[in-house]
C-alpha cells in the first residue's frame, strides 16, 4: 500500500527548492520542479531536484515538459542511478492544478510523491509535507484521486551532515556568514562544548546531593556509564603511551619543517644561471 510510504529527503534538496523559490519570476506565486532519487521497498530517497518553468493562472496550468525531459537527461549523464520519484511545489496547498501535474508525473514514475514546502511559512514554520495519490470513489462510477500524506524524514550522508552543521553556525550572526575554520579551532570549540556539558552534569549531581533535586535512577545509570567509560589504565602506562604518541607527532612536525626548509634551498638551484 502506498500510504505507508516513507520519504527520506536530503537537506540539499530543500536548499535547492528554497533557492528556486527565491529566484522565481515576478508573477509566479509558486515554483514546481522534479524530484530525483531512488525507490526501494517502501522507502523513497530523494537526493536531487531541479526546477521546471511553468505558468499557472486561474483555470489552466502549463508545464514545460520538454525542459523537464532534457534536464532529466542531463542529470542522468552524471548520475545514471537517479530516477524521477516525484515532484515538488512551494506553498502549502494542494490545488486542482496539482492533480494534473501529478498525473503527468505518474506517467514518468510509478507512485510519484508530491512534496510541498511551505515557503510562505504559514504559522511560523516551514512545513514539509509529502503526498501520494490514491484512488477514491465508488468503483465503476465516479472515481477521483486523493492525496494521502506520507511521512517525511530528513536523511543525509556523513559529510553532508558536517556541511549542514557548519552552515548552522551562520544562522545567528548578523551578516549570516560563516568562514571555514581551521582544525585547531574546531577542536577547541568542541572542547569548550564538552566542558559546558560536564559542568551541567556536575551541577545536577551537586543539586541531588544537596537534596534540591530528586535523584533519578535512569540519569544515575547514565552517569555510572559515563564515569566507567574512561578506561582504567595504570597512570604510568598511560603516561608512556601519551608521551610516545606525542613524540611521534612532534617528530613528524619537525620533519615537515625540515622538508620545507630543504625546498627553499632547492629553489636556490633554480636561480643559478645555466
Amino acid at each position: 500500500m502506498a500510504s505507508n510510504l516513507v520519504c527520506k529527503i536530503h537537506p540539499m534538496v530543500l536548499f535547492s527548492i528554497i533557492d528556486s523559490y527565491e529566484r522565481r519570476n515576478e508573477d509566479a506565486k509558486r515554483v514546481i520542479g522534479t524530484l530525483l532519487g531512488s525507490y526501494e521497498k517502501g522507502i523513497v530517497e530523494v537526493s536531487n531536484c531541479f526546477a521546471v518553468p511553468h505558468n499557472e493562472s486561474e483555470d489552466e496550468v502549463a508545464v514545460d515538459i520538454d525542459y523537464a525531459r532534457s534536464m532529466y537527461e542531463l542529470h542522468k549523464k552524471v548520475n545514471s542511478s537517479e530516477m524521477i520519484v516525484g515532484w515538488y511545489s512551494t506553498g502549502s496547498e494542494v490545488s486542482v492544478h496539482s492533480v494534473l501535474i501529478h498525473e503527468y508525473y505518474s506517467r514518468e514514475a510509478k507512485h510519484p510523491i508530491h512534496l510541498t514546502v511551505d515557503t510562505v511559512m504559514r504559522g511560523g514554520k516551514m512545513n514539509l509535507k509529502a503526498f501520494v495519490s490514491t484512488a477514491i470513489g465508488v468503483p465503476g462510477k465516479t472515481t477521483g484521486t486523493m492525496f494521502t500524506p506520507a511521512s517525511v524524514d530528513i536523511t543525509s550522508y556523513d559529510p553532508e551532515q558536517t556541511g549542514v552543521e557548519v552552515l548552522q553556525q551562520g544562522k545567528y550572526k548578523p551578516k549570516r556568514q560563516v568562514s571555514i575554520q581551521s582544525d585547531l579551532i574546531k577542536v577547541e570549540s568542541a572542547c569548550t562544548k564538552l566542558r559546558q556539558m560536564l559542568q551541567q552534569v556536575l551541577e545536577y549531581v551537586d543539586n541531588v546531593l544537596a537534596g534540591k533535586v530528586q535523584a533519578d535512577t535512569t540519569v544515575g545509570r547514565f552517569l555510572l556509564d559515563l564515569v566507567s567509560s574512561v578506561p582504567k589504565i595504570d597512570p604510568e602506562e598511560f603516561e608512556n603511551m601519551l608521551n610516545s604518541n606525542m613524540k611521534d607527532l612532534l617528530m613528524v612536525v619537525y620533519l615537515a619543517n625540515l622538508t620545507r626548509t630543504q625546498l627553499l634551498l632547492n629553489e636556490k638551484i633554480n636561480s643559478i644561471p645555466a
Binding site: P11, M12, F15, S16, I18, D19, R24, S47, N48, F50, P53, D64, Y67, M71, L74, V78, N79, T119, Y157, D158, P159, E160, Q161, T162, G163, E165, V166, L167, Q168, G170, R176, Q177, S179, I180, D183, L184, K186, V187, A190, V227, V230, K232, P235, M246, D248, L249, V252, V253, L255, A256, T259, R260, L263, N266, E267, I269, N270, I272, P273, A274
Partner: protein, 336 residues
C-alpha cells in the same frame, strides 16, 4: 580598461550553502566517497571585492564518449538554468582531492585556461575524506598574475623562471572562503536543527590519528623522491654544461695559438669554424614539473603540521580526563 580590471581583485569568495551541499553530495555519490575525482562548474557573479558563487553543476565523468559531449552538456545545462533564473555566468570550477594531492599539471592547465578567459575564476578544492571526519574542507585557489604570465610564455627554462621570479610559493594564492545563506535558508536551518541534531557526532575527536598521518607521510615521501630525481637530472645537466663550456674555451684557445703560430710562420690562418656545430648546445631541462612538485610538498607539509597540532590538542584533552579519573580513584581509595 585593462589596467582597471587588474586592480579589482577578488579578495574573498562567498559560497552559498546550497553550492557546498551540492559539491558534497556529488563527491559522495560519484566519487565513491572520496577515492575518485569529481569535477564540476561553478556559477555566480562578481560583486565589489568578492566572488559570489550561487550555484554549480557536476560534470559527468569521462566515459568512453568523446569530449564533444562535454561542451554540449555544458551549453545545454547553462541554457536550461537560465530559464529558471539561475546565474549562468561561469566563475570557476571545483574538484575533489584525495588526501590533498591536487597540485599537478592537469590542474594547472585547466586553471590557466579558465583564468585566461575569465579573469576572476577560481578553483575550489574539496576534500571529501576530511569532511567525513568532521571538518568541512573547502579551499579556493587562483594562479598569481606572475604565474599567468610565466605560463603564457610556455618557456620553462631556468632563465625564464629567474626572469619572472617564480618560486613555488607564489604560484597559487589561496583566497579565503566564506559561506553565506539567505534568510529563508536560515529559517530552513532552524527547521532542520532538531531532526539532525541527534546525529551530531564528535568523530573528529577521535584519537586514532596514525592512519591519516601514515598516508600523508607516504605521499610526502613519493614527492620528495620526485624532487630528488629532478634535482639530480638538473645537476647532471649543469655538470655537462660546465664541461662543455670548458671544452669550448680550450678549443678556442688552441685555435688562437695555432693562428698565432701560423701568423709567425706566414701561413694563412685557419678558417673560423662554427663552434656551435662542434659543440651542440644542451637543452635546458624544463623546470615546471619540479615547481609543481615543490608546491605539492609544501601543501603536504602544511596539512601534516595542522593535523599534528590538532592531534596534540586531543592528546592533551585525553590526558586531562585521565588525570581526573586517576585523582578521583586515588581520592576514593583513600576515603574508603
Amino acid at each position: 580598461m585593462a589596467s582597471r580590471r587588474q586592480d579589482s581583485h577578488v579578495q574573498f569568495v562567498q559560497i552559498d550553502g546550497l553550492v557546498a551541499l551540492k559539491i558534497i553530495k556529488h563527491s559522495q555519490e560519484e566519487g565513491a566517497g572520496g577515492t575518485d575525482l569529481v569535477q564540476g562548474v561553478l556559477l555566480g557573479l562578481v560583486v565589489d571585492n568578492r566572488l559570489e558563487i550561487t550555484n554549480c553543476f557536476p560534470f559527468p565523468r569521462h566515459s568512453e564518449e568523446d569530449d564533444f559531449d562535454e561542451m554540449q552538456y555544458q551549453m545545454e545545462m547553462m541554457r536550461n538554468l537560465r530559464h529558471v533564473n539561475i546565474d549562468h555566468l561561469h566563475v570557476g570550477w571545483y574538484q575533489s582531492t584525495y588526501f590533498g594531492s591536487f597540485i599537478n599539471r592537469p590542474l594547472l592547465d585547466s586553471q590557466f585556461n579558465y583564468q585566461h578567459s575569465i579573469e576572476e575564476s577560481v578553483v575550489l578544492i574539496y576534500d571529501p575524506l576530511k569532511t567525513t571526519q568532521g571538518f568541512l574542507a573547502l579551499k579556493a585557489y587562483r594562479l598569481t598574475p606572475a604565474m599567468m604570465k610565466f605560463y603564457k610564455d610556455a618557456d620553462f627554462t631556468p632563465d625564464a623562471i629567474a626572469k619572472h621570479s617564480i618560486s613555488f610559493e607564489n604560484m597559487f594564492e589561496e583566497i579565503p572562503v566564506v559561506l553565506k545563506n539567505s534568510h529563508l535558508c536560515n529559517a530552513l536551518l532552524c527547521e532542520l536543527a532538531p531532526p539532525t541534531k541527534r546525529d551530531e557526532k564528535y568523530n573528529f575527536l577521535d584519537l586514532g590519528t596514525s592512519a591519516v598521518l601514515e598516508k600523508n607521510l607516504r605521499q610526502l615521501m613519493e614527492c620528495v623522491d620526485d624532487v630528488a630525481m629532478d634535482t639530480n637530472k638538473y645537476l647532471n645537466f649543469m655538470r655537462q654544461n660546465f664541461r662543455q663550456q670548458q671544452a669550448k674555451q680550450q678549443y678556442l684557445q688552441k685555435r688562437q695559438q695555432e693562428n698565432q703560430q701560423r701568423q709567425v710562420r706566414g701561413e694563412p690562418p685557419l678558417p673560423e669554424e662554427d663552434i656551435n656545430k662542434m659543440f651542440k648546445p644542451l637543452q635546458s631541462p624544463p623546470r615546471l614539473d619540479c615547481l609543481l612538485v615543490a608546491n605539492q610538498i609544501d601543501q603536504y607539509c602544511n596539512s601534516i603540521s595542522q593535523f599534528s597540532a590538532q592531534s596534540i590538542a586531543k592528546l592533551f584533552m585525553a590526558e586531562s580526563l585521565q588525570e581526573n579519573a586517576g585523582d578521583s580513584a586515588a581520592a576514593s581509595s583513600t576515603s574508603s
